[in-house]
């Protein structure tokens, strides 16, 4: 069994709180990504599970067993980092059989294990090669294979694809996810790349200042963000407003955000309460000036590849919009109307809006 749990785990480095009473349970066979800005504690998160860093407080469980005092090599984990660590003077075969042999399983069994893992990872034909003869992507694949051959039931990955070009990384992450599912491995994968996390994770841990902001399925992070920070960190250029609730409705609230028109938002707060209203760029409809809505002027339009980004200024505010197609009337200097299709309403944060979504 290989679920992973933390119960009120804290870790401080001097004045800096890297983990602030973190609790969660990752199920066996689950693929979990950990994301957050630099300094949010995501690496420490991984290191306390690995046993590289000892927590100041709290318990860590792997497979239901408390492992605070269990050394790294007995935790049945495999660690793969951005820097690829293989034995350069050994062939792939040597690299894959090394772990099992050291653990004393006997040569025949070590070879059987290596063969099976190599087969799973489509490395069978390259077993006589040395790491230096492989591309970086393939080297990282071998590093993962080696961890599995050594008996890891839990894979801990720290930015495994950060030094691999994005095309190769896209293929690798897909293969890795398949493999993890086939072998029922529990995977905890730290990444700075939100897209990577969204594409492979069953659930994502969003970290900020040593705390878990939200631990949820990718789709839920978008449909039910718990905090303004989650909207900001995962949405890319979301629009935030301060406002006040003016009315309650069956499925949300009506908010005055000072743009003339009242807007509707998801989430329940009291009438009169000061709130944060967040709109993702893809939830802003842009309409011709004859239509109703919030009036603005097009400031710029950028082709982003498969979509367009536009900045619309409304009074002194700049609103970011994402569009699938370039609309004919979307020209710099033109007056347009905006409508918010979907917005999220949050309790106004004690530390203030700016601080609550601060990135660094």
């Amino acid at each position: 069994m290989s679920s992973v749990s933390m119960v009120e785990v804290s870790k401080r480095y001097g004045d800096i709180v890297a983990l602030d009473s973190v609790s969660l349970k990752i199920e066996e066979g689950e693929y979990v990504c950990v994301i957050g800005p630099s300094g949010s504690g995501k690496s420490t998160f991984l290191k306390v599970i690995a046993g590289i860093v000892k927590p100041d407080e709290g318990e860590i469980y792997i497979g239901g067993r408390i492992v605070n005092n269990v050394p790294i090599e007995e935790r049945e984990i495999g660690i793969v980092m951005q820097d690829i660590l293989l034995f350069p003077h050994m062939t792939l075969w040597g690299n894959l059989t090394y772990g099992p042999i050291v653990q004393g399983v006997g040569y025949a069994e070590a070879e059987a294990i290596a063969r099976e893992v190599a087969g799973f990872m489509k490395l069978t034909l390259r077993m006589k090669a040395y790491p230096g003869e492989l591309s970086r992507g393939d080297q990282q694949k071998v590093a993962i294979a080696r961890a599995i051959a050594a008996g890891a039931r839990v894979l801990l990955l720290d930015e495994p694809f950060a030094s691999i070009d994005s095309r190769t990384a896209k293929v690798l992450r897909f293969e890795l996810k398949q493999l993890a599912k086939d072998l029922r491995l529990t995977v905890i994968h730290v990444t700075h790349n939100q897209e990577e996390a969204l594409s492979v994770a069953d659930r994502i841990v969003v970290m900020r200042k040593g705390k878990i902001e939200q631990f949820d399925k990718p789709s839920r992070l978008f449909s039910n963000p718990r905090t303004p920070f989650v909207v900001h960190f995962l949405g890319g250029e979301a629009n935030f407003f301060e406002g006040r609730v003016v009315k309650l409705e069956e499925d949300g609230v009506i908010v005055d955000i000072g743009l003339g028109e009242l807007v509707k938002g998801e989430g329940f707060r009291r009438v009169g309460e000061r709130v944060v209203y967040a709109v993702r760029p893809e939830h802003v409809d842009v309409l011709p000036s004859e239509d109703g809505g919030i009036e603005g002027v097009v400031e710029e339009v950028n082709l982003m590849g498969f979509y367009y980004r536009a900045i619309i200024s409304v009074d002194n505010r700049k609103i970011v919009v994402r569009l699938k197609d370039r609309l004919k009337f979307l020209k710099e200097g033109k007056v347009v109307k905006l409508r918010f299709k979907r917005g999220f309403v949050f309790k106004y944060p004690v530390e203030g809006l700016e601080e609550a979504i601060k990135y660094e």
Partner: protein, 360 residues
């Protein structure tokens, strides 16, 4: 004012040919992006223009003047290498005003630029007291305040994560425009280049593949490499079997007949390419041509779009679904429509399809 012209530029390092006859013209005040994979020769080209490397053959003209014999510091170009370094023992103000003070020029421009990047209040701080994003901003400010009319930037944003990169890239372009600078910005990030460049050049193996404005290179790539490098793409190998009115008919293995808009001079064997955002997905309906039944293999929720992989007659077709597009789940039956007018058609490459896409 400063235009840059590069004529038939060649450069090798031993047996490795880094540049193979590069021709470019960058107009005064233009924001020019040089885009390509690692090893394409981007940095070499930039360093030759800066005067930090000498070409084997060819000319570099700045303002119409051949500059081979002119030392770097007199070319009027400021070069910012990848992995910028601020002077750690100098304050922000000293860092930014350094270039101007060395030349005994007025420091008022440094003040103006620090205000523009929003870090004037931090002028007395030291680099280590700032966050990574702020440091990057200072490095850019220092390059902008060098007093040069030409800015040569090597991967200026690559150290930043997605959201900071997005915010800073537009800021950078705006500043360059306000200061009337001519900029060459090297990057391997296609989205970054497309979103800010006035013009983009795509470089592969030391050769320019295409030069054009962003929408031109994205919508009408000249070859398969460019098409594939600028964004994910579906590729079908087809054989021309006939014409129907204004359309070509291709036979694609297992898929069957594929209609495209009429193209000239393609030859019998072709590669038909569809961008994932142009692939339409429906759960019912009917179209006369290019309408295929398939099964949804995977759906990844990326927030403002979903990446859906649909298996059609043994082929995998990738579609990007915008937020308001049809809701499909893994295992669902779905129809795929490939609009004939959205097809990009290329002659079958002599070196083979796979090789035509490789970076090296």
């Amino acid at each position: 004012m400063p235009s840059i012209e590069v004529k038939d530029l060649w450069k090798s390092y031993g047996s490795i040919i880094a540049l193979r006859g590069v021709n470019l013209r960058i107009e005064d005040g233009e924001y020019f992006c040089l885009l390509g994979p690692t090893g394409a020769g981007k940095t070499t080209l930039l360093k030759i223009i800066a005067g930090l490397l000498k070409q084997d053959r060819g000319e570099v003209l700045i303002d119409g003047v051949e500059v081979s014999s002119i030392p770097p510091e007199l070319r009027g170009a400021s070069y910012m290498p990848q992995g910028y370094a601020l002077f750690p023992h100098m304050t922000i103000w000293e860092n930014v005003s350094y270039g101007l003070s060395v030349r005994e020029e007025s420091l008022s421009q440094a003040e103006e630029i620090l205000k523009l990047v929003g870090l004037w209040e931090r002028r007395d701080s030291y680099p280590h007291e700032l966050s990574g994003g702020q440091q990057q901003r200072i490095a850019l400010a220092r390059a902008l305040a060098s007093g040069s009319q030409i800015l040569l930037l090597d991967e200026p944003l690559s150290a930043l994560d997605a959201l900071l990169n997005l915010q800073l890239r537009f800021e950078l372009k705006k500043l360059a425009k306000e200061l009337g600078l001519t900029v060459i910005h090297v990057t391997h990030n296609a989205e970054e280049a497309l979103s800010i460049a006035d013009k983009v050049a795509i470089l592969r193996k030391g050769r320019i593949q295409q030069i054009g404005c962003p929408s031109e290179v994205y919508r009408s790539p000249v070859n398969l490499f460019t098409a594939n490098f600028l964004g994910e793409i579906n590729l079908f190998e087809g054989r021309l079997t006939g014409f129907l009115e204004r359309m070509c008919i291709f036979k694609v293995k297992t898929l069957g007949e594929l209609y495209t808009r009429r193209v000239q001079n393609i030859g019998l064997n072709a590669v038909i390419a569809y961008r994932p955002e142009d692939v339409e997905v429906a759960i019912d309906g009917w179209k006369e041509e290019n309408f295929f039944k398939g099964v949804v293999e995977t759906v990844e929720n990326m927030g403002f779009y979903r990446r859906a992989l649909i298996k059609v007659k043994g082929l995998e077709i990738l579609a990007y679904l915008w937020i308001d597009a049809v809701d499909v789940q893994e295992g669902d039956n779905a129809y795929v429509y490939l609009p004939p007018d959205k097809a990009l058609v290329f002659p079958y490459p002599k070196e083979g399809l796979e090789k035509s896409l490789l970076s090296e």
